[in-house]
Symmetry: C2
Subunit: 156 residues, 2 copies
């Protein structure tokens, strides 16, 4: 159990393309529950699986419970229980001693690049990289659970 | 991942009361999703916790994924994410070399005693104990997920 505090920004594609980047991890994830008060996510990474239950976002904070499971079971859960899955490449980018997770979405969410930083308190100071141009922490359209139902390509 | 095949019977209270019984395990469980196509159960036993995802029942069979988690996290999940929890004493009763799980429900489901046997195939033969008097495998009212929403005491 943990309290997850994170802030989320859109990424400028041109500046992102110019950046030196590490090898990303490919993530496939889906939602057994997209209820924002109790989201249940199943995720498969390159070599692991996870079940994550998240509570309602309050400000920037959210209660989170995460459990590692075998990758093949995560894929079986996605096959059996979720309909529209999210696929994205995740890059870990270090900027001013902080790690940013930058998600480059694929499939129905292609065109969307989102950067997240996890904080230890809501008031923690941090530097926003030049390639992160607009904060969307409070915008529910960018919740991954919402993107699985209403993907970026379907937006007006 | 497993296929769960089980049959469920109501238990005669008088015959049950006369039986020699082992010490039961106390189970507290709730549902983050009661959707019968993807039930998500959190359970705390005397010393462990579990997250279990079950698929739709087809005949007597059901796809099941179960993961052990720390008991204190199971209790925190129940506190934070479920409203009406089920509490029951579970007795493991051996009858003709098979183990029956007999659940004596408490709280809003008090008065209900249900026995379940897990089988390795739908056609496996087994002996029904004298204290198990009526099969309810196919009756959705007795699904634990349903009992958490519409408890026995609220039935007409």
């Amino acid at each position: 159990m943990a309290i997850e505090i994170e802030r989320k920004f859109l990424v400028n594609h041109d500046l992102w393309n110019e950046l030196d980047k590490p090898i990303p991890n490919f993530l496939k994830q889906g939602y057994l529950s997209t209820n924002p008060e109790k989201t249940l996510r199943v995720r498969a990474t390159d070599d692991k699986g996870f079940i994550t239950i998240k509570g309602k976002t309050q400000g920037m904070s959210r209660l989170e419970f995460e459990y590692e499971i075998p990758k093949d079971e995560a894929l079986a859960l996605l096959d059996n229980f979720t309909e529209q899955n999210i696929e994205k490449y995740r890059y870990l980018i270090t900027h001013k001693e902080k790690t940013w997770e930058v998600d480059v979405f694929q499939g129905a969410n292609e065109g969307l690049i989102v950067a997240e930083i996890e904080l230890s308190s809501e008031t923690e100071a941090f530097d926003i990289p030049i390639w992160a141009y607009m904060e969307v922490t409070d915008d529910p359209r960018y919740y991954n659970s919402r993107l699985s139902i209403k993907p970026y390509s379907s937006w007006q």
